[in-house]
């Protein structure tokens, strides 16, 4: 059976982002594989290590730089990778459509998608992909067991958690707690160099028309004031409270 894990690449959580004239200046920012996607890769690896016979394919849809995130997935243990390369920003519905073609063509039976994108916080891709494929789906999945043709999962809901059983094929979106991803080991990093990384054009399955277009973007800007409050501690505390209430308006 084939397992596909969808990979995205996002700015490192520790990176400092700079707002630019239009949008965000990503120059000099380190990019990493999205942590939520790593849970998917790890879960696929664990299924295989439990003796489940599977070929694990890492799939990414995005610009050329995504390649480094794909290499991380290969270094973690994915068998091969497919990169649909494009600089066009696609909405999740359109992404899901493109990816559903690939999933069908590969005849994969289990797809892992990161629960929520670390950069723009979107959680739409997983459900959209399930919808496009017409497959069952479990979101915010924290536990997964595989049986003959079925999955048993535990997933988070707004109020608590729920146990589900789903027939295969299925789409699983991940949640923190699903597992503890491993570090890529040095031998595996070097071996990954020899693994297949296939590039496909975006229009592989016909023309792609994004449903929405991004016309502008902005991030919340946080600046430090570098202000030191002088004076005795009691006075300083009073001044701090005043600033927090009147200037920062957080109290």
């Amino acid at each position: 059976m084939k397992i596909i894990t969808i990979i995205k690449q996002v700015p490192d959580a520790e990176a400092r982002l700079h707002p630019a004239e239009e949008g965000i200046d990503l120059d000099g920012v380190t990019f990493v594989i999205d942590g939520m996607d790593e849970y998917g890769v790890e879960e696929a690896l664990r299924l295989r290590e439990q003796g489940f016979d599977a070929e694990i394919i890492a799939v990414a849809l995005g610009p050329q730089r995504y390649e480094e995130a794909i290499r991380t997935a290969l270094a973690l243990g994915a068998d091969r990778a497919i990169h649909i390369e494009t600089d066009t920003v696609l909405d999740p519905i359109t992404q899901a459509k493109v990816l559903s073609n690939l999933v069908s063509e590969e005849e994969a039976e289990l797809v892992f998608v990161g629960g929520k994108q670390a950069d723009w916080d979107s959680a739409a891709l997983g459900p959209a992909l399930a919808e496009a494929l017409g497959w069952p789906h479990s979101d915010w999945t924290t536990k997964l067991d595989i049986g003959a043709g079925t999955l048993t999962v535990t997933h988070d809901t707004d109020e608590g958690q729920e146990d589900l059983s789903l027939p295969l094929p299925a789409v699983i979106t991940t949640q923190q707690g699903l597992n503890e991803p491993r570090y890529p080991t040095l031998p595996n990093i070097m071996k990954a160099k020899r693994k297949e990384l296939k590039k496909l054009p975006l229009d592989q399955w016909g023309g792609v028309q994004a449903k929405t277009a991004v016309v502008g973007e902005a991030i919340q800007v946080r600046e430090r004031l570098n202000r030191v409050i002088e004076g005795d501690p009691v006075e300083a505390a009073r001044e701090l409270v005043r600033l927090l209430r009147e200037e920062a308006k957080v109290l």
Binding site: T72, L186, M190, L225
Partner: protein, 396 residues
Amino acid sequence: MIGTITRATRTHLEDFFELEPLYTPEERLIRDSVREFVQSEIRPHIDAWWTQGVFPEYLPRQFGELGVLGVTLPERYGGSEASYTAYGLVNRELEYADSGMRSFVSVQSSLVMYPIYRYGSERLKNAWLPKLASGEAIGCFGLTEPDAGSDPANMRTRARRVGEHYLLNGVKRWITNGTLADIAIIWAKEEESNEILGFVVETDTEGFQAVDIKTKASMRASATSELYLDEVAVPISHRLEVRGLKGALSCLNQARFGIAFGVLGAGFGCFEEAARYTEDRLVFGKPLASKQLVQARLADMLGDLTKGSLLAYHLARLKEDGRDTPARVSLAKRDNVRAALKTARAARDLLGANGITTEYASIRHMLNLETVSTYEGTDTVHTLVLGREVTGQNAF
């Protein structure tokens, strides 16, 4: 709006001159993986290990699993066939936590696996390299003696040929991993030829004894031992195929290369600590970081470590091309240790009394770096190598 405090991230000043794009994707992944490992498996414990003077027994297996032992060696012997740049970055990330961690990996990779790989028989390689790579076996390197350090040619340890064996007699001192080791690479003079030979000695052989040196004020998270060899019988098949001091020196050249990278980790650890501390510490009503004299010292640290990083990187690429002459390695080892030690001492000072406790890393790094300045050729020894390079005259 008052926001969360943002600070320069590690990558920003650590790579002031943008070496990042020059690394291959594999080199970057290796660096990041080791960095994560160090962050979660070593940094939380290192202060306690150092203070208690222990090197945890489980670590070699973890190092082996991660794959940091013998990284440049072929896969068939358990290596990763990674580049020397990757090996350098591994050293730097480990020494960011503690020089003792890097020491273990240096010794195992450059001083034990390398000579077996380069000079050992196929049987020796197959018997030991995979186990050394996985951390199942530990090795040590015995060159220095109580009365022969900078001048190893003056060693007293002797090897006497008796039938199919050599009998080894002598004392080795200051040997990293000595008490932990399953095998020791022992350098000894052959009685009949007076030439230096290298042997792979199994430490459970009768007559071999290792005792730890307990009074160190440096490298406390690393075992340093004395080895006693009393008529230790070693089969001739365990002899390395090299004659003269050049065998041992070729190993040291490997390890010294790694040190040129490693010490940058310790240096950056101190630099970051000092930068953070001086930002938060108020003196005379203002942050220390706002004072010109403090800024001058931080600027020096950045300069020294940046130049060291460029030097190490370029040396690695030369080495990958086979052009790492011993004199180039001497320059990089000497000057990068100096840069790191100067940074560590300045950081220690900028932290005031807090810099005296091991709750901050600077003093630990500073004390460790005193060893690094002494071992693998003292600062003076490398100066004399460079002096000879300039003048053509031997001043040893």
